[in-house]
């Protein structure tokens, strides 16, 4: 089977990352996802860097398992195709920033299509004074003060490099569509559901809000990491590592200190390292230089070996070449080679594994409008009608 969502059709109507992530994960689940692009294509197709074949890395990364239909969404015939497609689908994922720029108002869809699940992604949420303001990754990160968990207090903001707000908005949108589809199986009715970049970022930071509510003490890594100095891990000769030491006896600690060349530390310093443990302690700004006195004499691999020998967990601060070379990553088999229309591509597989046999990556990221003919034919357009739509430019 294609996956748990086999038999469901989803229209993705957006640009950039958020709607694409939602569409991709629904496609990962086996839904027939049709990505509707405006004539010139998703803006993500123009984001650098590119594959050798010229395709955008970002576009390729968030568009597996879907088909592409390019429409002139400024024209009535193009919009008529869109409405016919939506009417033949179970769910619509709409990025209101995208449809807003096009002047496309879909707010009344449920009046005609009461069984539709209509998800809307916005920058800031469906209600409130900013409901109609456009959103963006850096804006959502700053407004949710995610940038406060990076960098230094008096320095310029540092971005959470992963496109977090956009990606989490896509994840929460996929959840929203699934939950609403589940309800529809029970009672036959669809509904609208709103998700935003800002809200997604705020909700994933929830532990911090609870920690700031009324804590018994200003301590523990949920509050004391707030406005701490930058954390670069512990520096060894050729890179950095992070360390988490569990319960050990004083003798075990002494053996670890000795192997790390820290046997000469004073009793008070050793006590501090024993009680504070590792990288998540509130006193890392004091303990880190002590650890580094020893670690600076070793390569990361040597240091990891020493910690492992003593039953402590330490990890290299990996970059992607290190991550994908690691035997644990290779064991999980995260990558798939696929043949894109313009050349070979490597994509990630979906994160979960279902017991029921499913093909993880059915479709490579599509070329612009690659599936127009087959999608129109499935919607019941005759060959002559399809030809006319292409000729008029309503379908690209």
């Amino acid at each position: 089977v294609n996956g748990p969502l086999e038999g469901l059709r989803v229209v993705e109507l957006g640009q950039g990352i958020p709607a694409a992530v939602a569409g991709m994960h629904l496609g990962d689940g086996g839904a027939d996802v049709i990505k509707v692009e405006a004539g010139e294509g998703d803006i993500a197709r123009g984001m650098p860097p590119c594959w050798e074949s010229g395709e955008s890395a970002v576009f390729v990364a968030v568009n597996r398992n879907k088909r592409s239909l390019a429409l002139d969404l400024a024209s009535d015939p193009g919009r008529a195709v869109l409405y016919r497609l939506i009417a033949a689908s179970d769910a619509l994922v709409e990025d209101v920033g995208f449809t807003g720029e096009l002047g496309l108002d879909l707010s009344g869809l449920l009046d005609d299509l009461p069984g539709l699940v209509h998800a809307r992604i916005s920058g800031w949420g469906g209600k409130g004074p900013w409901a109609d303001s456009p959103g963006a990754e850096i804006a959502a990160q700053m407004a949710s003060e995610a940038t406060t968990s990076l960098g230094a207090a008096d320095e310029p903001p540092v971005r959470l490099g992963t496109d977090a707000a956009s990606t989490y908005a896509g994840i929460y949108t996929a959840q929203a569509v699934l939950a609403a589809l589940f309800r529809r199986f029970q009672d036959g009715e669809g509904q609208r559901v709103d998700v935003s970049l800002f809200g997604s970022m705020l909700v994933t930071r929830a532990t911090l809000w609870a920690a700031l509510s009324n804590p018994d003490d200003w301590g523990g890594f949920h509050t004391d990491s707030y406005l701490k100095p930058p954390d670069h891990g512990y520096q060894a000769k050729d890179g950095a590592l992070t360390v988490v030491v569990g319960r050990m006896s004083p003798e075990q600690w002494d053996a670890l200190f000795s192997d790390l060349g820290l046997g000469g530390l004073g009793d008070e310093e050793k006590r501090l390292l024993r009680t504070e443990g590792g990288s998540t302690s509130r006193l890392t700004h004091i303990t880190r230089p002590l650890w580094e006195r020893g670690l600076s004499q070793f390569t990361v691999d040597e240091a990891l070996e020493i910690f492992a020998r003593h039953g402590a967990n330490a990890y290299r601060v990996n970059d992607y070449p290190n991550l994908f070379a690691h035997p644990q990553t290779q064991h999980l088999g995260l990558l798939r080679e696929v043949e894109g229309k313009h050349g070979p591509l490597t994509v990630m597989r979906p994160p979960w594994r279902f017991g029921e046999d499913t093909v993880a990556v059915r479709l490579p990221p599509p070329a612009l409008g690659q599936h127009a003919g087959e999608v129109l034919s499935e919607l019941g357009y005759s060959a002559a009608e399809v030809e006319a739509l292409f000729a008029s430019g309503a379908v690209a």
Partner: protein
């Protein structure tokens, strides 16, 4: 109705954060989530005792166990294990995030439970997988940030990788993907009539959420560069220092946004420069573009630019802090951070709702005390199944 999942019942054998976050979502969506704790567990040990605490209980426990009922069961006791199995027979979903093999040793492996309840969706979450050199290790967010390259995506130009000091981001990410997969399996059950097993590791979830950055690496063979508040895929998309010394984050990705930004800043000639007409052109000339914009942003306070760009339809924001966020109408009207009245911990600003459903809204239940609903859950079980409840704590 409490939400779209009303009627769904979840046996929640999860601890710490990753698992509890996934079932907290299901509870907000309206499922009846029954969270298991060991009888007699000290309040200070709940949620692993991760500090800080509120009234002696970890904020972790308080945050990650909203929207649930609390049941005491000692699964190492035969009688309680039997109660668990009777309860699981009435459930739709089973979630655990114990190390591989632990559920099986308790007699709660997928094969065991599928026999009792073939409609059960069984989700097993762990850190590293059931094989490979790290399989036996525990997993926490900061370790995963280091291992999966997450930390290596943040930092200043020419500087070193930085840990995101919100040490639960990848826990929440894993929980979110588990929620998504469980919802998929519940939908599949509508078609097949059967449940199925789902496996998910933190490594898989933590890398999935880095899709765009890993995509850059896969295309180029190199780790994406550290660029402070900027990014290597869109420009402008970064923070600019304003006259008052604070920063405004600004992005112009579409052609319309780029035009509007330049006009709002009085930089018509920049909008007309063909080198910067496309995203790729602006990324290639990012430093020049940023310098031109920065010189204008430096002439007025951030608050003024926010109004000006807002009127021009250009995405922008300033940093807001907790005290401002919890009262901001954009937050309160959308329920993104919710003040929740709990019996044991007072008012807690807890996990809000990321999804706003028009017909079956999601909802929040305050975190209960460990074991608080033991009596009522066992009474319900007695009413549902003929056997008398045994092993009642």
């Amino acid at each position: 109705m409490r939400g779209p999942l009303e009627g769904i019942r979840v046996f929640d054998l999860t601890l710490l954060m990753v698992g509890p976050w996934s079932t907290m979502n299901l509870g907000a969506l309206g499922a009846d989530v029954i969270h298991i704790e060991r009888p007699g567990i000290a309040d200070s040990s709940l949620g692993g005792g991760v500090p800080p605490s509120i009234n002696g209980t970890s904020v972790g426990h308080i945050t990650w166990n909203m929207n649930k009922r609390q049941l005491f069961l000692d699964l190492k006791e035969g009688a309680d294990l039997e109660v668990a199995k009777r309860l699981i027979a009435t459930c739709d979903v089973f979630v655990n995030n114990m190390r591989p093999g632990v559920a099986e040793r308790l007699g709660l492996g997928y094969e065991d439970l599928c026999e009792i309840n073939p409609r059960l969706v069984y989700c097993a979450i762990c850190g590293w997988g059931d094989g490979g050199p790290l399989a036996e290790r525990t997993a926490t967010d900061p370790q995963l940030q280091a291992f999966t390259g997450f930390a290596s995506n943040s930092g200043v130009p020419g500087g070193r990788a930085e840990t995101y000091r919100h040490f639960t981001q990848l826990d929440a990410t894993t929980g979110n993907y588990a929620t998504m997969a469980i919802l998929m399996a519940l939908i599949a059950r509508e078609r097949t009539g059967r449940g199925q097993r789902i496996d998910l590791t933190m490594v898989e979830a933590a890398t999935a959420v880095q899709a765009t950055k890993i995509g850059e690496y896969l295309a180029t063979g190199e780790h994406p560069p550290l660029l402070g508040s900027a990014t290597s895929t869109v420009a402008p998309s970064e923070a600019f220092r304003c006259e008052d010394g604070t920063h405004i984050g600004v992005q112009a990705a579409t052609a319309q946004q780029w035009r509007s930004l330049c006009e709002a800043l009085g930089l018509g000639e920049l909008a007309a420069d063909p080198r910067f007409a496309t995203i790729a052109g602006r990324v290639a000339g990012r430093e020049e573009v940023a310098a031109r914009l920065a010189s204008v942003f430096a002439t007025k306070p951030a608050r003024w630019w926010q109004l000006r760009l807002g009127r021009a339809g250009v995405p922008c924001a300033r940093v807001m802090r907790f005290d401002e966020l919890v009262h901001h109408p954009q937050v309160t009207e959308n329920h993104y951070i919710e003040p929740v009245e709990t019996e044991a911990y007072g008012t807690v600003y807890a996990t809000g709702l990321p999804w706003a459903f028009s017909r079956t809204p999601a909802s929040i239940l305050p975190t209960a005390r460990a074991g608080q609903h033991t009596g009522e859950i066992l009474d319900e079980l007695d009413a549902l199944t003929p056997e008398p409840a045994v092993g009642r704590p």
